[in-house]
C-alpha cells in the first residue's frame, strides 16, 4: 500500500497514521436520520403505509347496526382539509339469493345524518343486482363523495339488498382487506358479506370532486360557514383547477415550442401495446447442407405470450392473484427502501456502505477525500524533509 512505501534512506520513519475507516455517521447525521425516521413512522401510522406516505383521507372506524341500517362511521383526519374519493363496497363469499333470478337494487348512501332522514345527503349509488342460480358471489358498487373535516359520515347499505341476500357464514370465504364479519340486521338476516374499503387519494380528490360554492358557504342568512367561506374564496376548487389546467393546455402547452414536450409526454404515457415484429432468417452460405436454403421465422411474441400466460396464471386459492400480484408488493417495498437510502445519502452524505470495509485503502486521497485531518497528515507526509 502506498503509505507503507517509505524510502529506506529515511532514518526515522515518520509517524504514519493508519487511515481509519471513514466515520460513517456523525452525530448530526444520526440525529437527522432519527428525525427522518420519526417523521416516516408518524406518517406511516397515519397513512397506514410507510411507502405510500400520503393522507388516505379517511378511515372507517366502526361498523354497526343502527335501526334498520348497517352503518359505517367515517371520519376525516384533522390534517386534511377537504377530501373526496370513492368508497367501494364488495360483497364477498357465497351469498345466495332468497329469490333467485330476481333483480334487486343495492343502494349505497353516504350522509352526515345518522338517521338518513335529514342532514345533507352526500351521495347515493345504485347497483342493479341480479340473482342467478341461487348464488351470487361478487357484486361491486361504489359511491363518490366529498367530505369535510370534523364531520362524521355514515354509510347506509340499503336493507332491501340485505333482505335479498343471506350468507351461510360457515361457507364464506373472505378476501383480504377490511372485512367486517357477522353484522346482523334487525330482520335477523345474517350477512357477513360486506367488505368496506376506503380509497381517497388527495390528488384525485382535488382534481375531480371538490366543489366549493361561495354562494352556499358565504351566505350569512343560510348555510354560513366561516371556514368553508374563506376556503371557497381563496382556494381553487377541483373543477376550477381542471378548467385552469385545460385553459393552460390550450393556451400554452400545445403551442410551439411547449407543444413538442407535451406531445412527447403524451406519447410516453400511452398504454397501448405493439407486437414486437418477428424476424425472418434465410439460411444460405456457410451452413450445413440440410439447412441450406431454409427459412426460419422467429416470432418473439409467441414466446412472450406463452410466458405471460404462465406468469399470470392465477393461484388456486380463490384470491384470484397471480405471481406478480403476490410478489410485486414486496419487490416494490425493497426498491422504495433502496430509493430512500439513496436519497438520504444524496442529501446527508451518509455512506451506508463504506469502501474501507472492503479493504480498498490503496487510493488514499479517494477513500479519505472527505477527511480533512487525514488529508493534512497525508500532505505533511508527502512534503516531509
Amino acid at each position: 500500500m502506498g503509505y507503507e512505501k517509505t524510502p529506506k534512506r529515511v532514518l526515522f520513519r515518520p509517524l504514519v497514521v493508519k487511515p481509519r475507516a471513514t466515520k460513517m455517521i456523525s452525530k448530526k447525521q444520526l440525529l437527522a436520520i432519527v428525525l427522518l425516521g420519526l417523521i416516516c413512522v408518524t406518517k406511516s401510522v397515519h397513512a397506514g403505509s410507510l411507502i405510500y406516505a400520503q393522507p388516505d383521507g379517511f378511515s372507517i372506524l366502526n361498523l354497526e347496526n343502527e335501526g334498520d341500517h348497517l352503518v359505517a362511521f367515517v371520519t376525516v383526519p384533522q390534517n386534511t382539509m377537504l377530501n373526496a374519493g370513492s368508497l367501494f363496497v364488495f360483497t364477498g363469499g357465497q351469498a345466495h339469493c332468497v329469490s333467485p333470478a330476481t333483480h334487486y337494487d343495492l343502494y349505497l348512501k353516504l350522509s352526515d345524518d345518522p338517521t338518513f332522514t335529514g342532514g345533507s345527503e352526500v351521495q347515493t349509488s345504485t347497483l342493479q343486482y341480479t340473482c342467478g342460480n341461487g348464488f351470487q358471489t361478487n357484486a361491486t358498487t361504489s359511491v363518490d363523495f366529498q367530505m369535510y373535516v370534523g364531520t362524521k359520515y355514515y354509510l347506509d347499505i340499503n336493507v332491501a339488498f340485505a333482505d335479498a341476500l343471506s350468507v351461510n357464514s360457515a361457507s364464506t370465504t373472505m378476501a383480504s382487506g377490511w372485512i367486517f364479519n357477522n353484522a346482523t340486521s334487525t330482520e335477523g338476516t345474517n350477512y357477513d358479506l360486506y367488505r368496506l374499503e376506503g380509497i381517497a387519494s388527495s390528488t384525485s380528490a382535488l382534481s375531480e370532486q371538490q366543489t366549493l360554492d361561495v354562494g352556499q358557504y358565504c351566505n350569512v342568512l343560510s348555510g354560513f360557514s366561516p371556514q368553508n367561506c374563506v376556503l371557497a374564496l381563496f382556494l381553487v376548487s377541483g373543477s376550477q383547477g381542471g378548467d385552469l389546467a385545460s385553459a393552460l393546455q390550450n393556451a400554452v402547452l400545445t403551442k410551439v415550442p411547449f407543444g413538442y414536450a407535451t406531445r412527447i409526454v403524451s406519447l410516453l404515457s400511452t398504454t397501448t401495446t405493439a407486437d414486437i415484429p418477428s424476424a425472418t432468417l434465410h439460411l444460405n452460405g456457410n451452413v450445413p447442407s440440410a439447412l441450406q436454403g431454409t427459412t426460419t421465422i422467429m416470432n418473439t411474441m409467441d414466446a412472450i405470450n406463452g410466458a405471460t400466460a404462465i406468469l399470470t396464471t392465477q393461484i388456486d386459492d380463490g384470491s384470484g392473484h397471480n405471481l406478480w400480484d403476490v410478489t410485486m408488493p414486496y419487490f416494490k417495498k425493497i426498491v422504495y427502501l433502496l430509493l430512500a437510502l439513496l436519497i438520504i445519502r444524496d442529501i446527508l452524505g451518509v455512506e451506508f456502505i463504506s469502501k474501507n470495509q472492503f479493504g480498498t485503502h490503496g487510493a488514499l486521497s479517494d477513500t479519505n477525500s472527505g477527511d480533512d485531518s487525514y488529508r493534512l497528515k497525508e500532505y505533511l507526509y508527502n512534503h516531509r524533509r
Binding site: 374564496l233 381563496f234 403551442k255 407543444g259 400511452t270 401495446t273 412472450i304 444524496d346
Partner: protein
C-alpha cells in the same frame, strides 16, 4: 374563487399573446411514429415483466431527483442543503 379569477385572467392573457404560434399535433422528422412504436414495444415488455419495468420507472424517477438536486446546486452553490460529496 379569487385565486381562480387571477389565474384564469393570467392564462387568457398569455393565450392571447401566444395565439399566433402553431399547435403541435405530431413530432417532426418521423419521431412521432418512432416514439409511438417504441412505447408500444415497451408496454408489451412491461406487461410481460413488471419488475423490470418498475425498476426502469424508479430509475427514471431517481434520475429526475438527481437533476433537481443538481439544479439546486447550480442555483445555490455551496449553500445547497445537499451532500456535495455525491451530487
Amino acid at each position: 374563487m379569487i385565486t381562480y379569477i387571477i389565474l384564469a385572467g393570467f392564462i387568457s392573457l398569455i393565450g392571447g399573446v401566444l395565439a399566433f404560434l402553431p399547435v403541435v399535433t405530431t413530432l417532426p422528422f418521423g419521431i412521432d411514429d418512432a416514439l409511438s412504436t417504441t412505447m408500444g414495444y415497451w408496454n408489451t415488455f412491461a406487461n410481460f415483466l413488471p419488475p423490470l419495468a418498475f425498476l426502469f420507472q424508479m430509475t427514471l424517477w431517481y434520475l429526475g431527483f438527481r437533476v433537481i438536486l443538481m439544479g439546486l446546486k447550480l442555483i445555490l452553490g455551496h449553500r445547497a442543503p445537499i451532500s456535495h460529496k455525491h451530487v
